[in-house]
């Protein structure tokens, strides 16, 4: 006799509710799909949120705050973690000319992120606390948290690509350094001639 799904019956190896209740603490306490916190998905209850306003007061400092062009207005409240500035800020502000549905919006933002990071690293060398790849990557945890034992003999799939991480992190720096050396050599060569 063929088995499910080639016949109408459900699979036969599901334990009974009694057996499950005996084995699993709380089995079935949320059995009724209509008695779960997210049912129904939308519940109109503006009075139940704690808000005592119809529209919130507007936060100060709104001038120049970037926003998605898919918004009809600047939201009344917003984060102020890291305002746009410098070259990366200009790149990001340019990205906000594109709607969220456009790949250009997100890819330009990613470019802004990388320029921001490169600029911050370069600037850090003019401070008393330059970036330290040893402490900032937390790589010392490899020794303190059993880096080898955590990987060897574990059949972990992520080991297949973790070797790429140092290249992702260090690759741009190696490329930038090589580029700088080539440019310097070209300048010196030209000066000699």
């Amino acid at each position: 006799m063929p088995s499910t799904p080639y016949i109408a019956n459900k699979p036969k190896d599901i334990p009974t509710p009694e057996a499950l209740r005996a084995r699993i603490p709380g089995w079935g306490v949320d059995l009724d799909p209509k008695d779960r916190p997210s049912y129904p998905r939308e519940v109109f209850d503006p009075a139940g949120t704690g808000a005592h306003w119809d529209y919130p007061d507007e936060q100060q400092g709104r001038e120049g705050r970037e926003r998605s062009i898919e918004h009809g207005q600047l939201t009344p409240v917003f984060g102020t973690s890291a305002p746009l500035k410098g070259v990366s800020g200009s790149i990001r502000r340019y990205a906000y000319r594109y709607g969220e549905g456009r790949a250009a919006h997100w890819l330009i933002l990613l470019l802004g992120d990388r320029v921001d990071a490169w600029g911050a690293h370069a600037k850090s060398f003019a401070t008393l606390r330059p970036d330290n790849p040893i402490t900032e990557t937390g790589v010392l945890a490899e020794g303190r948290r059993h880096g080898i034992a955590s990987r060897v003999g574990k059949r972990r799939v992520d080991v297949n690509h973790q070797w790429l991480d140092p290249i992702v992190v260090g690759g741009p720096w190696v490329a930038a350094t090589a580029g700088a050396v080539l440019v310097a050599r070209a300048i010196v060569r030209r000066a000699r001639h």
């Binding site: 917003f78 059993h146 992190v169």
Partner: protein, 382 residues
Amino acid sequence: MKAMVYRGPYKIRVEEKPMPKIEHPNDAIIRVTTAAICGSDLHLYHGLMPDTRIGHTFGHEFIGVVEEVGPSVQNLQRGDRVMVPFNVYCGSCYYCARGLYSNCHNVNPNATAVGGIYGYSHTTGGYDGGQAEFVRVPFADVGPTIIPDWMDSEDAVLLTDALATGYFGAQLGDIVEGDTVVVFGAGPVGLYAAKSAWLMGAGRVIVIDHLEYRLEKARTFAHAETFNFAEYDDIIVEMKKTTDYLGADVVIDAVGAESDGNFIQQVTGTKLKLQGGSAIALNWAIDSVRKGGTVAVVGAYGPIFSAVKFGDALNKGLTLRMNQTPVKRQWPRLFEHIQNGYLKPNDIVTHRIPLEDIAEGYHMFSAKLDNCIKTLVIANPS
């Protein structure tokens, strides 16, 4: 104050930052006691999330003590111990009025496709997060809740995202009695989703991962059957075999953007950032659920397109359900389940580290060292 700050992909450090200020009448300033590192923080850490700016402080899972409140705050006062949902939300917009707190339209000027989240880049509004000594919490009368006296502090911080999200993921599956539920990912959210599936009447719960120590936790903590996908040539075929070739009724993707199992997806999705993340767990979910079944997604993905097998989803007649979790909607029921002993959230905590060690904490979590499942960050010892 001391705060974790982002310095570029794979690089963070603790710096002195200015104290957060009241910037809106309904703001509060919270002195963070405990925060947590979430799997989705790794997407920021790896440079996957667009508009993650240098100097940004991560951390959307945190609890603390009210240090200061704005002039319009009515429900909190200085000294209250509070837990803060990871959603920043106003409580009064079109979406909040309908209970979709994670989709609030009044807090994130940078994007309409996602609501506000603490410490999760400017794409979610540009709010500094709680992996710091202090944090600004907007709409103090809406999001934060005073921690009940009976509640363990570690359980409280786990309720701010991971537990609520796992429980929400199980709800998105619309589980009915006797369903076979497969959960991809044995991280904190996957473990909680598996545990929650039983509460909703699942008949079988199967958890899939490639980290054996996490699968062991899925067996002991979540009473689940487990499959290590690294041991099989084709995990989808195994799922068909174990369900009499029917497929699971419900599959929950609790992995998200950095899922493992396909080298090309990993390289294009997480190394080269050409996708909104590696979509292999989502594709496996689509392929291992039965026709007419439901795929619930609570693993986080970025805003860029991902290579998803949408044709299979269409041809199988699947229901795909997903959202960021409206955390506070889950709390009353989860409080009951904790009090009744059905859920013990902090059973999955493996590491507790001081804020000063957070760079090593991120590396440990990212590289899955030392059998790490959940790491708590002690910002201000209470």
